[in-house]
């Protein structure tokens, strides 16, 4: 049973006319390079964060919640300084945004899509101003990100999360509670 699933895509590729194969191959290569670019950008961000994540910014287990909040604040301040010129699209370039739209589309269609949207909208955070390199509001709830959506998107380095605010996708640094970048109307 498992073998037949593995073979099926191969057979489909083989029976396609030559020009279609060429287009598909180009698209796959293009996706691979866009994905590689995304991986590189998020890794660069994570490396930058790790570089400033020491001393007072280091988050450690403690009985004192004030120390957690203080470390989070220091970490956020250091990242903001290190990325002082950060702007939308620094990580989600137009190519990456297009790829994310394409990856999300199948998850938002039909019955599964309706369930997915319902889960995202469930107790979703209210209207807020989204700005790169600013704090995610402390009092706002975090959107639930359904498992099928997470499975469809590229894996992130530790501490980075995908979240939704209304129809927008944000890249959130959970450790610093900081908005790293965003895709407007990712699930519109």
């Amino acid at each position: 049973m498992r073998a037949s699933f593995a073979i099926a895509p191969v057979l489909i590729v083989l029976v396609l006319p030559a020009p279609t194969r060429a287009v598909q191959s180009a698209s796959v290569n293009s996706d691979a390079s866009v994905l590689a670019a995304f991986d590189q950008r998020v890794k660069a961000y994570a490396d930058l964060r790790d570089k400033v994540d020491h001393g007072q910014a280091a988050l450690k287990e403690t009985r004192d919640p004030a120390k957690i909040a203080a470390a989070q604040d220091v970490l956020a301040a250091r990242i903001r300084t290190a990325r002082a010129g950060a702007k939308p699209g620094d990580i989600f370039s137009p190519d990456i945004q297009r790829m994310f739209h394409r990856l999300l589309q199948p998850e938002l269609k039909g019955k599964k899509g309706a369930e997915t949207k319902a889960a995202i909208k469930d107790e979703a955070p209210g209207a807020m101003t989204l700005k790169v390199n600013t704090r995610y509001p402390e009092k706002a709830p975090l959107s639930t990100v359904p498992p099928n959506v997470l499975a469809s998107l590229p894996k992130l380095p530790e501490g980075l999360e995908y979240r939704f605010v209304s129809t927008h996708l944000i890249l959130l640094d959970g450790r610093a509670n900081l908005i790293v970048d965003l895709i407007p109307n990712a699930i519109a």
């Binding site: 639930t144 359904p146 450790r175």
Partner: protein, 290 residues
């Protein structure tokens, strides 16, 4: 030495129980309270800082005086509306002070209103992780705390591995979003169910606990698994249960907590309201894996 100290401690606990019960009104624990059984309490959606949350805290303390437990599972939304030191004090440390003073260990899972960094707050016993597992020193039971707010591939792979290697007779999973619920406001999280239920069935999970919907509901067993919704430890949505084919028992007119006792192959439970009434109770027998 130990024998000599016992009567004093028992007398003290009974006195506390009597005092608390008198102040709060009647609260009868109907669990068997057997020697060497595993005892624990469950609360969900607690962190509002409301008077009702404090009353549930008092009820928990009164219950502990006659039904000693050292474990409290938290089903998420532990701290609503902020995460500064005052929030932790008003919404956790003060309402459960007597339990914390009595060395009760709370094991939290994260809800959608929680800051992810709550994982670093030691009294939540999360070891700095969004999801984790632990096993009490007595009894063959293992608990799995999940982060249902962000069920990524890494977490699913972790759960698969941990359930496979558990070796415990009883496997109890708990997290915030219910995969079975008759809530009008939220209800069953179907996308989450698609991912989690096959693992629960495959590895013989016995009991699943979730919050999010602000009421109590015991679901009719699904594929041999007993599901509870317990999301009214500090928030309440009166009349939010739309009784359905899933509903075995529901309570949506008051706040509550649940006590559990595992004795061998039987798990006993008792859900108690903030008024001290037993709103549900019963026993579940574990189906032995073949």
């Amino acid at each position: 030495m130990r024998v000599g100290r016992r009567p004093n401690r028992t007398l003290m606990l009974l006195t506390v129980a009597l005092a608390l019960t008198t102040a709060l009104g009647a609260q009868t624990i109907t669990l068997p309270n057997q020697k060497n059984s595993v005892h624990f309490a469950v609360i969900g959606d607690t962190g509002s800082g409301s008077a009702q949350q404090y009353r549930i805290g008092e009820r928990l303390a009164a219950a502990r005086a006659v039904f000693p437990y050292d474990i409290v599972l938290m089903l998420g939304d532990n701290i609503y509306g902020g995460s500064d030191a005052r929030d932790f004090a008003d919404k956790f440390e003060k309402p459960y002070k007597s339990l914390l003073d009595g060395s009760v260990k709370f094991y939290a899972s994260l809800g959608n209103h929680d800051n992810t960094n709550e994982r670093l707050y030691k009294p939540f016993n999360m070891n700095g992780e969004r999801y984790y597992t632990f096993k009490p020193s007595n009894g063959s039971v293992r608990f799995f705390a999940l982060d249902s707010n962000y069920m990524d591939r890494a977490q699913l792979a972790w759960l698969d591995k941990e359930l496979a290697n558990s070796g415990s007779d009883w496997k109890i999973c708990y997290f915030h979003h219910p995969i079975y619920s008759s809530g009008k406001t939220h209800g069953s999280d179907l996308r989450l169910r698609t991912q989690l239920e096959p693992l629960f069935i495959k590895y013989g999970v016995n009991v699943v606990l979730a919050g999010h919907d602000h009421f109590y509901e015991r679901i009719k067993p699904q594929h041999g698994i007993q599901y509870f919704v317990s999301g009214a430890g500090g928030q309440l949505r009166p009349g939010d249960v739309r009784r359905s084919d899933l509903t075995e028992k529901a309570f949506d007119t008051g706040y509550h907590f649940i006590l559990f006792e595992i004795a061998g192959d039987t798990l006993f439970f008792q859900a108690i309201s903030d008024q001290g009434q037993t709103v549900d109770s019963g026993a579940i027998t574990r189906l032995k894996q073949t």
